[in-house]
């Protein structure tokens, strides 16, 4: 189904998932305006959110099934497999986040159903980021997502750390947006357009990129660097991830990051593929992000903080895929982000079960002896840890393996070697979690008595574990999907570069 964005009907059609989600978000907003006092209201809002996400996923599926695409026309919205696959990741991350939020919100007495509305708006922003084929659309989407997440980060407003997290995130995020916007302005100044494909076409014919363009590109990279928490722009990440409510931390580490990466891929490979300068920058960014994230994580005792730093390290692995580029790099990114979303959300879900009201820090030692008391929970966390470590048999390994293939195919053998060496470092902080659960005795009798997940969080964790193991052994379908998505991003760049 070829869509022509000049025709209103086609334009609406190409935005169908976003429209569905917006509609639901508005309905939900109306609902919570009247019903926002009791636990029951919160639950109903949660249910409606799930319904919204499912219907959005169906809309995405419908477009994907009909091979909807904007081909041969310059448009502000891209419609390709890359977008659909990325959208599924965002919707999946949001769904799992809702599932693990039910008990959490009740336990922490956050009886404000607006939580779910914000979650939907955040997801909407992410979907538009993956869809944007124009720098302005990407910027607006980024802001839509960010504003929702700023509020979510500080949702537990009675707790100082949550408020601190929100403020920090907001201030630094605003700076990052400033960088991004200024970068867009400079790029516009240099090329006269903000459309990715038109920029790409211009740059491929230009002999040398102008200084203004390079400055704009650098500012864009800084802006994205903040959002994906690449070292040295990661300073906010540990504090914000640590202070935010745990389900929101999970949402930020997976969905927000995936959205920023999706936009980064599109911008870099559709607009700036012809500019060679940024490859080296990405190379260095990847190296210091991987080493920095892993080394900092090594010193953490709090599991939440450790996962925060580890998410920095994983951003580094994905940056390797960005550096490698090509169809392989793009598909590797998608496979990796699916795996990362699953394993990271799974780990945070177990962390929520272990946490107690008031969000006191759960340290690695607090998990001692969990396996004897809660074998299934410990097993789930162990699978997530092994997957984060990149152990064979799990999806994390498949993702890493794909990134390594992408890197070596692009001639980046050194980068591949650095990736695995930093992964070895990560064993130093993932393994102690397993070690504490299985090899150390319970600190006190009944230390884990109140550790349990409600049935929806349990379903989420079960989905995560099954998904991790399934993709670890049989990733064929995921590959095919990622491969066609990777193709679609690069096909646009090449066909329009020709005329």
């Amino acid at each position: 189904m070829n869509l022509n964005p000049a025709i209103p009907r086609d334009l609406l059609l190409s935005l169908l998932p976003e429209l569905v989600l917006t509609g639901w978000a508005l309905v939900l907003l109306l609902f919570v305006a009247w019903r926002h006092r009791t636990v029951r209201d919160l639950r109903i809002a949660g249910w409606l959110t799930l319904l919204a996400l499912v219907s959005t996923a169906i809309a995405i599926w419908w477009l994907w099934w009909n091979r909807a695409g904007v081909r041969g026309v310059v448009s502000m919205i891209a419609a390709d497999d890359f977008r659909w696959v990325a959208d599924w990741v965002f919707v999946g991350a949001a769904t799992l986040t809702v599932l693990i939020s039910f008990t959490y919100l009740e336990r922490e007495e956050l009886l404000a159903p607006e939580y779910h509305v914000l979650l939907l708006f955040g997801t909407l922003g992410m979907m538009l980021m993956a869809a944007g084929a124009d720098l302005i659309v990407i910027f607006l989407a980024l802001e839509l997502m960010s504003v929702a997440v700023y509020v979510l980060g500080g949702f537990d407003r009675r707790r100082a750390r949550s408020a601190e997290a929100a403020l920090k995130y907001f201030l630094l995020g605003a700076f990052a947006s400033g960088f991004l916007l200024y970068g867009i302005a400079l790029v516009y100044g240099a090329t006269g357009t903000t459309n990715l494909i038109l920029i790409g076409a211009q740059l491929s014919s230009a002999v040398r990129p102008s200084a203004m363009l390079l400055a704009g590109l650098a500012l864009l990279i800084v802006g994205f660097g903040f959002k994906i928490a690449a070292v040295p722009f990661h300073m906010w990440a540990p504090d914000v991830y640590d202070g935010a409510p745990t389900p929101i931390t999970a949402f930020m580490a997976t969905g927000v990051k995936a959205a920023a990466f999706a936009a980064l891929f599109r911008v870099m490979y559709q607009a700036f593929a012809a500019v060679p300068a940024w490859h080296e920058i990405m190379w260095w960014l990847a190296v210091i992000t991987m080493s920095g994230g892993n080394l900092f994580a090594l010193g953490q005792r709090s599991v939440k903080r450790m996962l925060a730093y580890s998410s920095v390290a994983h951003a580094g692995y994905v940056l390797v895929a960005v550096t490698a580029g090509g169809v392989a790099g793009t598909s590797a990114f998608l496979v990796y982000i699916v795996a990362y979303t699953l394993m990271s959300l799974g780990a945070f879900a177990v962390l929520i079960a272990k946490g107690r009201a008031g969000e006191s820090d759960v340290t690695i030692d607090d998990l001692s002896g969990l396996a004897a008391r809660r074998p299934w929970l410990a097993f789930a966390l162990a699978v997530c840890m092994l997957s984060l470590l990149g152990f064979p048999g799990t999806a994390g390994f498949i993702g890493k393996w794909y990134i390594l293939i992408a890197a070596t195919s692009a001639g980046q053998n050194t980068l591949a070697a650095i990736l695995v060496l930093t992964s070895v470092v990560s064993a130093g902080y993932y393994l102690p979690v397993i070690m504490a659960m299985y090899m150390k005795p319970e600190p006190i009798e009944a230390a884990h008595v109140d550790v349990r997940l409600d049935r929806w969080a349990r379903a989420a964790v079960a989905v995560v574990v099954v998904g991790l193991l399934l993709f670890g052994v049989w990733p064929n379908r995921l590959f095919d999907l990622a491969r066609s998505a990777g193709d679609s991003v690069h096909a646009v760049g090449t066909t329009t570069a020709a005329p």
Partner: protein
């Protein structure tokens, strides 16, 4: 028919039964696990007769797995891996039987892990697809990590993580090397596949990259062997692991390193592996392993640590034999690999048995116990002698073949390595004397009980192996020979002497 399912069955059966054991009540675990491992052994035994010694791969099974990357499930065995598979299936029931009373907590988990470990180990030996090989190589890491970490001694956490990180470091670099090879072969031929034969035939023209790739493989395998100075994880892991863990570590896991050299590092990068520099480095490191390992073993107060260091020495012989690349030395190296599995496995069992009675591994805690536990003493003496390589035992055949084979390639190094045999006699016989002879001075030792029928059942198969290989190794050598010959022919064309008419087993058959 058998040829088509045997390897798959050997891989799947322990995995399935492992899960079953985990789900059953803990008190049934050991019985089911023992039955499963005995059945596993029974499945593997016909390999011995159906194997045709022709130098090629047999029992091949090949299915597409992840087609997008050219990953297949391909397995097969040749004369090099056949005995390692059989050794694995042979040692597993004994390990389970040997843990009968040693493991008292979380039995279900322990036996399930042992069974899963079996799948990983056999998988490493039979994989003919490098992706599959890598997965198996890593898969066996986790069960071993848990076996050491959960059921080990006092210092188990440290030993477990050290074991894990050493192995993980080496294997991840190997992973990059495998992928580089894959991309290289794909570029050269347009066919992207992880198949062993495909990568092997396209590992040429790598230029200086070959040195890096060899280095990565070398590191992974050398850590596993372990070659000096990468051996420091081994004493810790061996000492802290429960008996079955030590037996499997020494008996099988160490062989993965030497097997890796034979199967991958040497054939893939012959130019690098046989360059002067690498030869010099490997020979020197093997020699250091043989002599230093022996000398360090001599001063160990802990019997288990003594055996651990003796492993370093034995594996030094294997490395020397492999790199000498003559027919005798390679066959000898293969034989030492088997023998070490049997003899050192038996030693670890014996130490474990006496530890269960006296709760001490220190040599000084014993003395004169031959009068109290005569049967134990007799078996310990016999096993020690085989480890020292007394003629008439399996140890002699293997080490002697390595030495005479290696002498033609490295005369000086071999002469020095011979001293390792003497050192071995020195440390093991001294230990033997201090443990079972000497006067009986300590009262705690007066009431030790002798071996139980179950323990005898564990040891007798090993003793039979020791004597059989010691007296009549020809059936083994005959099955190894074509593969060893093919390997050497491939690496050093034209250097293998034609077999003397009628003596198919080369020098080996005539040793006794």
């Amino acid at each position: 028919m058998y040829a088509r399912w045997v390897l798959t069955a050997l891989l799947a059966w322990p995995l399935i039964t492992g899960v079953v054991v985990l789900l059953l009540p803990a008190r049934l675990a050991k019985y089911v696990a023992l039955a499963a491992s005995v059945i596993e052994f029974a499945i593997s035994v016909p390999l011995w007769w159906t194997f045709v010694p022709d130098g090629g791969m047999q029992f091949i099974v090949d299915h597409a797995w992840i087609a997008a990357w050219g990953i297949h499930y391909t397995v097969g065995v040749d004369g090099i891996s056949l005995f390692l598979v059989l050794l694995t299936t042979f040692l597993m029931p004994l390990s389970i039987l040997g843990s009968w009373s040693y493991i008292t907590k979380r039995e279900g988990g322990f036996y399930a892990l042992l069974l899963v470990l079996t799948t990983g180990m056999i998988g490493v030996f039979v994989s003919l697809d490098l992706f599959l090989f890598y997965v198996m190589w890593e898969v066996m890491l986790i069960p071993m990590y848990f076996i050491i970490g959960v059921w080990g001694g006092d210092n188990r956490l440290y030993a477990a993580i050290k074991f894990f990180i050493y192995t993980f470091l080496g294997s991840l670099l190997m992973l990059v090397a495998i992928i580089v090879l894959y991309v290289h072969a794909g570029r050269a031929t347009g066919v992207y596949s992880f198949a062993y034969a495909h990568l092997l035939s396209n590992a040429k023209d790598l230029g200086p990259v070959a040195w890096w790739l060899f280095g990565a493989f070398f590191l992974a395998f050398a850590i596993k062997v372990p070659l000096f100075p990468l051996h420091t994880w081994l004493p810790d892991a061996h000492v802290e692991a429960p008996t079955a863990g030590s037996v499997i570590l020494a008996g099988i896991l160490l062989k993965m390193g030497t097997y890796g050299f034979l199967r991958f590092a040497l054939p893939f990068f012959p130019a690098v592996a046989l360059s002067q520099t690498v030869q010099l480095v490997i020979v020197i490191l093997s020699l250091i392993g043989i002599i230093y390992g022996g000398l360090v073993a001599m001063v160990q107060p802990d019997f288990k640590k003594l055996i651990a260091y003796s492993s370093v020495a034995h594996l030094g012989f294997v490395m020397l034999g492999i790199w000498a690349l003559t027919l005798q030395s390679v066959q000898g190296a293969l034989l030492v690999m088997i023998n070490h599995g049997i003899s050192t496995g038996a030693l670890f069992f014996l130490v474990g048995m006496i530890y269960e009675r006296r709760h001490s591994r220190l040599i000084a805690a014993y003395g004169g116990i031959a009068r109290v536990v005569p049967l134990f003493a007799a078996i310990l003496t016999m096993v020690s002698l085989s480890s020292i390589a007394l003629p008439g035992t399996n140890g002699f055949v293997g080490e002697f073949l390595v030495l005479i084979g290696a002498f033609r390639t490295y005369p000086l190094a071999t002469a020095l390595a011979t001293s390792g045999v003497i050192v071995a006699a020195a440390y093991l016989l001294t230990a033997l004397q201090r443990v079972i002879y000497n006067p009986l001075t300590q009262h705690e030792n007066e009431n030790l009980t002798d071996l139980t029928p179950r323990e005898i059942a564990v040891l007798v198969p090993l003793l039979v192996g020791i004597l059989w290989i010691g007296i009549y190794p020809k059936p083994l050598l005959r099955r190894m020979e074509p593969s060893a010959r093919a390997l050497i022919e491939q690496l050093k064309p034209g250097t293998v002497q034609a077999p003397p008419a009628g003596a198919g087993a080369g020098a080996g058959g005539g040793q006794q």
